[in-house]
Symmetry: C2
Subunit: 341 residues, 2 copies
């Protein structure tokens, strides 16, 4: 079945293709009479303008590429949703690309997106190896990244203040009266989230408390790592009434083994995490954590991207630090012993 083109409409309405184009896009005055005829023809023939042909002429596609490590990870899924929604409002569609944490696949997708002439790219990289976006930046294709530095490139970046996240989580525990506060830290000290540990230390020191590597086990940032960390925390034989976990996944793992070992949470041990993944509100008890905006970050990212696409901004790179805030649920409470003395 032949697809209806602008020519068919022109013929049917007895006008030129130019006129059809003008009424479709409302881009110059057309007499009501002709306009009606055109609209009728469109209606009758069921015409749908070919966006690709349009793009070819206008050199814009109203599409943005989104590269994420894993769109089924609730964290990224939430960001992606924010992007899609904001894009919809602004008239941009999004091409969804999962890198599956493979640099190779990031490269393939980057190429593909360039070929498809997307108007901009939101890139949540897997590694610190972000050199491969250089061609885009230099080719003048707007790019926004998350949680990465892009030295020397004119690219906006969204990040959170990891130090501060660790700091406010720990301060909360201290405020609740806890003095012996354990910390479950990431396996690697060079990841961005390792900064959260620094915030923890700062908060401790500020209050004249000591942090002690003996109760600062490392985990793999996943639920399993949190379980292991909790085990070693118990085995250490040290006292602690609270634990700060550098992310929710490990906090959840820790809660599980602590509970199975007979500890009551929060009655005997308080826990706070960071991230506010959806699971956090469904655990037993619901987890107190430091939340970072995900949906909002996504929509703000397209905002910034579109500014650059449409020429609303052409200064140097912007570094946006997302607001974070403590969400108090039920896994951390007042340290009662203080009162009992």
């Amino acid at each position: 079945m032949p697809v209806i083109t602008i020519k068919d409409i022109a013929r049917r309405a007895g006008v030129s293709v130019a006129t059809v184009s003008y009424v479709v896009n409302q881009t110059r005055y057309v007499s009501p009479e002709l306009a009606i005829r055109v609209r009728n023809a469109i209606e009758e023939l069921g015409y749908s303008p070919n966006a690709n042909a349009r793009s070819l002429r206008q050199k814009n596609t109203q599409m943005i590429g989104l590269i994420v490590p894993d769109s089924s990870n609730p964290f990224f899924a939430e960001i992606a949703k924010g992007i899609e929604d904001a894009g919809y409002d602004k008239g941009y569609s999004v091409i969804l690309c999962n890198s599956n944490a493979q640099i190779e696949r990031e490269l393939v997708y980057l190429d593909l997106l360039r070929s498809k002439r997307v108007d901009g790219i939101i890139f949540i990289a897997t590694s610190n190896h972000v050199e491969h976006i250089r061609p885009f930046a230099t080719a003048g294709i707007p790019v926004v990244t998350f949680y990465r530095d892009n030295p020397g490139l004119d690219i906006d970046t969204f990040r959170i203040d990891n130090f501060h996240a660790g700091y406010i989580a720990t301060r909360h525990l201290i405020y609740l009266g806890h003095r012996e506060i354990a910390c479950i830290q990431p396996a690697s000290a060079i990841t961005p989230s390792a900064q959260r540990v620094e915030g923890y230390k700062k908060a401790m020191e500020e209050s004249g408390l000591v942090w002690d590597e003996a109760i600062m086990p490392r985990g793999d940032n996943r639920v399993g790592g949190g379980k292991d960390a909790a085990q070693s925390l118990i085995k250490s034989g040290r006292n602690f009434s609270a634990v700060f976990s550098t992310n929710d996944a490990m906090a959840i793992g820790a809660m599980r083994v602590l509970r199975s070992l007979g500890y009551k949470i929060p009655q005997t041990i308080s826990i706070v995490g960071v991230d506010d993944i959806i699971l956090a509100s469904y655990t037993e008890p619901p987890l107190t954590t430091v939340s970072q905006p995900k949906y909002e970050a996504g929509s703000q990212a397209v905002e910034f991207l579109i500014q650059r696409i449409e020429g609303g901004y052409d200064q140097g790179p912007r570094n946006i630090v997302l607001d974070i805030n403590l969400v108090q649920r039920e896994s951390a409470i007042q340290y009662e012993q203080i009162l009992e003395c």
Copy 2:
């Protein structure tokens, strides 16, 4: 900065644009000598073929549209991931569209996807009102849907056997020795998942057990609805040692109130759900449930879609029933009283 086109490459390599096209696409023999020159020019100039121009000629875009109610819902996110991955393997990109459960927005996206000339559409509808995909079907654009009937349209559909899901969940409980089995059912008897209740009834009857509306409260398919249902279950004053919930969300809600009321799960009450949402494996205790393939369903859907796109299939509509299976976790155990007698 001017974008490099095929002409620039031709000029640089001293050949015709046709030759460039042929070496890029490997679509006819080109002498090694010229091929090298072309490849060098491409390398030097950083050429990226314009996929839109190509699409305009070839009348295919290597893109598929995906319409889901909410891509941040883990259930759809998982399906979407399967779609994206399979698409990647087959050389198709996916445009992500959230309908946010609004028919209006489904329509807008459907129009948009038509305009962008996607090669096919995977449509997970919000309502039973799927009439609006008719134009696509009749225009010959392949469409695959989930969980919906498309009477009179040549559209493939993926679904699960809801009756069977309810049946095997209930059979499992019976197999464990339970005889008084409550059922938390959906608010509406006409939704697809209401069939799960029929499966429950069948299993009960088959084993000579009676089902009783007094312990079959209705819920809104969400966690809150499960909580309410559990309350009314308790208020009914009837005995039951197990409950079958027609979905996981309600099962989780029920578990919560039952536990807060002092019931031990699974020691005093066993529970099984349906869906296997990710939360199910993180509850206390982890939920036994009937799982349906999500990732796999997604990739199978693109398989079918691409068959139609590329002419590998042109028979009538296909109705695919996805495999389901019981995943045993810790919320349902043997009914001990039987042994104690």
